[in-house]
Amino acid sequence: MLEEVIFAGFGGQGVLSMGQVLAYSGMIEKREVCWMPSYGPEMRGGTANCIVTVSDSEISSPIIGRFDTVVALNQPSLDKFQSAVKPGGTLIYDSTNIIDPPTRTDIDVVPIPASEEAVKMKNTKIMNMIVLGAFLEKRHAVKIETVLEALRKVLPERHHHLIPLNEQALQRGGELANAAVPVA
């Protein structure tokens, strides 16, 4: 099994942490994992992304150009990375703030109104967990239970009361993923 995914969006949308949660979960499931953030002054521009690889065998390069899955949380990221999805791969994006939707037809395009949903769930911070839920539903890279275990491990005690909310978010993301209709 090998999953190569990139999470991209604005800083503050929690793209780096959702990647870390995935990597940590992979580690719990005894997989080889690698998490590689974009770094340096691009951050100034406000955009951020991270590449996560989860694999059964040794991982070679942490930086890759084509992905099984691209998760884009804003327009610039969508524009930049939609072409990097491998044919037959998956493109998940937050449809709330997208003006020009993706155009590719050779891949599985999954629009998720994540921000909108997060507002409905009264906590914009969990937007990334909704998206992660959609990702898991589509790619089965790791089990949801593992993610929750990971959260218990990485979140400081004082935030553990949020775990149920995160669980809902993951679930909701899964549902949205199944309900998703690509705007073709």
Binding site: P41, M43, R44, G45, G46
Partner: protein, 266 residues
């Protein structure tokens, strides 16, 4: 508070422009974070160049810091110097072209940490250049580490519990030191957090350029600025913090101004 919803109809054609982006500042989006003082500082430096009509005689030296890409925005000949060495590079330029207007634009890490030796000796030699010093009390580009100008107890990524004088020393008032040097001709500290301060800062920059004609020594303009991103604040808050914490320690004003004779003797 309530706001009217209809779009305001504009009347541009009935009026004249009283303030706009200077032509010397290229019409490209700057990479700076929202609300970053570097943008204002860039603009007033370029406004000065435009108003003095010296675009063709000006050579600027960019530092290593967030403003490393100054040359992407300033429409003049520029050199990108190694970290801390901008004044040495400027010396090389100015000594070969004494007739040109030469300035450096440097951050606090660049000018007052790794570049301390070059800064002091350049001013001590009285190199006839303008040094624009952007003091935001932090290393912006590298992600918010302690700068020589970081305040006591200020939290940064390398002073996670606040700067302790005992271990990390004191915020360095390098501008005060430089004002002591005979080579310094004009030394002032300004800010760009309010419209008034922006006006004053621009005046200082204008002086710094003008004085190069006199060939009497170095002009040094410190600009106390913000770093919303690494201070972890919204731009508006950051300017408040600047006013409440930085300005008391780095008071604004002139530290060394040319005498009448100095200026007439030219």
């Amino acid at each position: 508070m309530e706001k009217s919803m209809q779009e305001i109809e504009h009347h541009y054609d009935e009026m004249s422009i009283v303030c706009e982006r200077p032509a010397t500042l290229l019409d490209t989006r700057m990479h700076y974070c929202p609300g970053c003082g570097h943008g204002v500082a860039h603009r007033i430096v370029m406004e000065a160049v435009e108003e003095l009509g010296i675009q063709e005689q000006t050579v600027g030296i960019a530092p290593v810091g967030c403003s490393v890409f100054a040359y992407h925005y300033m429409n003049i000949d520029m050199q990108e110097a190694a970290h801390g060495r901008a004044t040495a590079v400027a010396t090389g330029v100015k000594r070969c072209h004494p007739d040109k207007y030469v300035f450096t634009y440097q951050g606090d890490g660049d000018l007052a940490a790794i570049g301390t030796g070059e800064t002091i000796h350049t001013v001590n030699r009285g190199e006839n250049i303008l040094i624009v010093f952007i003091n935001n009390a932090i290393y912006g580009m590298t992600g918010g580490q302690m700068a020589p100008t970081t305040l006591i107890n200020q939290k940064t990524s390398t002073t996670p519990y606040g700067r302790e004088q005992q271990f990390m020393g004191n915020p360095l008032k390098i501008t005060e030191l430089l004002a002591q040097l005979p080579g310094a001709f004009y030394v002032t500290r300004q800010a760009v957090n309010t419209p008034l301060n922006v006006r004053r800062a621009k005046k200082a920059i204008l002086n710094g350029f003008k004085y190069q004609k006199l060939n009497k020594g170095t002009s040094f303009v410190e600009i106390v600025s913000n770093c919303p991103t690494n201070w972890g604040m919204k731009p508006v808050e950051s300017n408040k913090w600047l006013e409440e914490h930085m300005l008391p320690f780095f008071p604004l004003g002139d530290m060394k101004v040319p005498s009448k004779e100095d200026i007439e003797h030219a």
